[in-house]
């Protein structure tokens, strides 16, 4: 099932809020997970796993390191879900 980019962004915002506690409104496409949102490399794996569940997409390990910004993740999920 296809999700709109807006749906993916708000879904990711909920995930990031759940895992590291930053407000959902801070989770914007131009934000870097590590530099802006306090998501370290371990938490990034958690974000990816939660995104897999939420959007029914497979995010391979080697892809996780390419998801630098929230926008990168939104695009990947939009393309692959």
């Amino acid at each position: 099932m296809a999700y709109s980019e807006q749906e993916i962004l708000s879904g990711l915002a909920e995930i990031v809020n759940e895992i590291v506690g930053v407000p959902t409104s801070d989770v914007q496409t131009d934000k870097s997970f590590t530099d802006d949102l306090d998501v370290d490399s371990l938490s990034m794996v958690e974000v990816a796993m939660a995104a897999q569940d939420k959007f029914g997409v497979t995010i391979p390990d080697e892809e996780i390191k390419n998801l630098k910004t929230v926008g990168d993740a939104v695009s990947f999920i939009a393309k692959n879900s």
């Binding site: 895992i19 590291v20 506690g21 371990l42 938490s43 794996v45 958690e46 796993m49």
Partner: protein
């Protein structure tokens, strides 16, 4: 090397009888038991369905995101360390002169087993990337070091049920060696989970008094039938007396000496002759420059097992000799249950407060004392301790044949 005495200036705890030190101490003085019937579904099939969970769940204290990155044992340690650090006041120490020694008997067993459940049920991709830092036994110590920016070393002694006392001994020797000026020391444990509960029950180590949870932990009583598993953490801040005096800190007591020995007798049974325990106590007394006659109080290990309590009692009588009647003995596990790797730290705090307030906490459920004990056990009500310079021992022994005695001296 430093020759200044090492003193305790901060205390923190979360225990089955209280969410902090003040609540824990008043519950101990009031003789309140923290043992309850476990109501979780998993407990229904167990032979032992009683335990002593913390009085205040960490979810009520910690931020949700902070809590989810820590094993339950790490949560307890952080809560107790924050209290101890705040209680010590403005410590103002160079981070490279500050060390952390937080022990655990078992480590992050909740994290280990819940991730194993995920592995089996949902596959390897579902194992948390945080599982290792959460389950490693040094995880709580490292979390405390992150909290206070301690860069003088992080250590985790692991010696089963003597771990918490060994942490205090380690801290004492770190400061004496001159390597650091301040140590945050203690122990934490969170093992109320069906697997350790079943394993301890199968060792015949736990009380099976399921119908009377608050009566189950009964050290020195003829009807004792094992210990009650507890959970929680105890943390102290230790520093040189010179430093504490300079900054005008409140000093609870001096950590005066320690003795650490091993039995080489059996992996889990106590040596019935208690010789290793006797040596630990004698070593602690000598290390502190004390005489047995100065020991006015003992917080005994006394877990409420048939063999352990009498072996320790014999060891105390052998260590103190003619001075045995002068020591008021308290078995606070009668109220808290047995906190395993946190026991030595929580009971160390109880002994420190006993010296500070000149008041030994009671031992509850001692209805019919075992004739083999031969100690002056403080029963039912707290007992006043003498004025003047007095000392106490805190005993902790562990599976593996570990014996740790910490000698404490009243200050001021």
């Amino acid at each position: 090397m430093t020759t200044s005495p090492v003193v305790v200036t901060g205390l923190g705890a979360t225990t089955p009888v209280g969410g902090d030190v003040a609540a824990t101490w008043s519950a101990l003085l009031a003789g309140q038991s923290g043992v309850v019937t476990l109501t979780q579904d998993w407990a229904a099939e167990l032979p032992v369905r009683i335990a002593a969970p913390v009085a205040v769940d960490p979810s009520e204290v910690l931020d949700r995101v902070e809590a989810r990155r820590l094993d339950r044992s790490g949560q307890f340690a952080l809560i107790a360390a924050r209290e101890a650090w705040a209680d010590a006041g403005a410590v103002d120490v160079d981070p490279e002169r500050l060390a952390v020694v937080v022990a655990s008997g078992i480590g992050g067993v909740h994290t280990l087993l819940s991730n194993y459940d995920l592995l089996k049920e949902k596959g390897p991709r579902r194992v948390s990337p945080l599982a290792i830092p959460m389950l490693m036994p040094n995880g709580p110590a490292a979390s405390v070091a992150l909290e206070v920016s301690a860069r003088g070393g992080v250590h985790t002694p692991v010696s089963a049920c003597s771990s918490g006392a060994e942490a205090m001994a380690y801290g004492l020797n770190l400061i004496r060696s001159g390597r650091v000026d301040v140590v945050i020391a203690g122990g934490t444990e969170a093992a109320i989970h069906p697997l350790p509960m079943a394993a301890f029950a199968n060792m015949m180590a736990l009380s099976k008094r399921n119908d009377e949870p608050q009566r189950a932990s009964r050290p020195y009583d003829k009807a004792r039938d094992g210990f009650v598993l507890g959970e929680g953490a105890g943390i102290v801040v230790m520093e040189t007396a010179e430093r504490a005096a300079r900054r005008g800190a409140r000093i609870y007591a001096e950590v005066a000496g320690a003795g650490l020995t091993s039995d080489a007798h059996h992996i889990a049974q106590p040596d019935p002759a208690g010789t290793g325990a006797t040596r630990a106590m004698r070593d602690a007394i000598a290390d502190a420059g004390l005489r047995p006659g100065q020991i006015a109080h003992i917080n005994a290990h006394a877990t409420s097992t048939p063999q352990g309590d009498v072996a320790e009692a014999l060891a105390i009588r052998n260590a103190l000799g003619d001075a045995t009647p002068g020591a008021a003995v308290s078995a606070t596990k009668s109220m808290t249950g047995h906190l395993l790797g946190a026991a030595g730290a929580v009971e160390g705090i109880a002994a420190i407060l006993a010296l500070h307030h000149r008041l030994a906490p009671p031992t509850i459920n001692l209805d019919d004392p075992d004739d083999e004990v031969g100690l002056d056990v403080v029963r039912d009500e707290p007992r006043a301790l003498p004025e003047g310079g007095i000392a106490a021992l805190n005993n902790s022994f562990g599976f593996g044949g570990h014996n740790v005695a910490v000698a404490l001296r009243s200050y001021g």
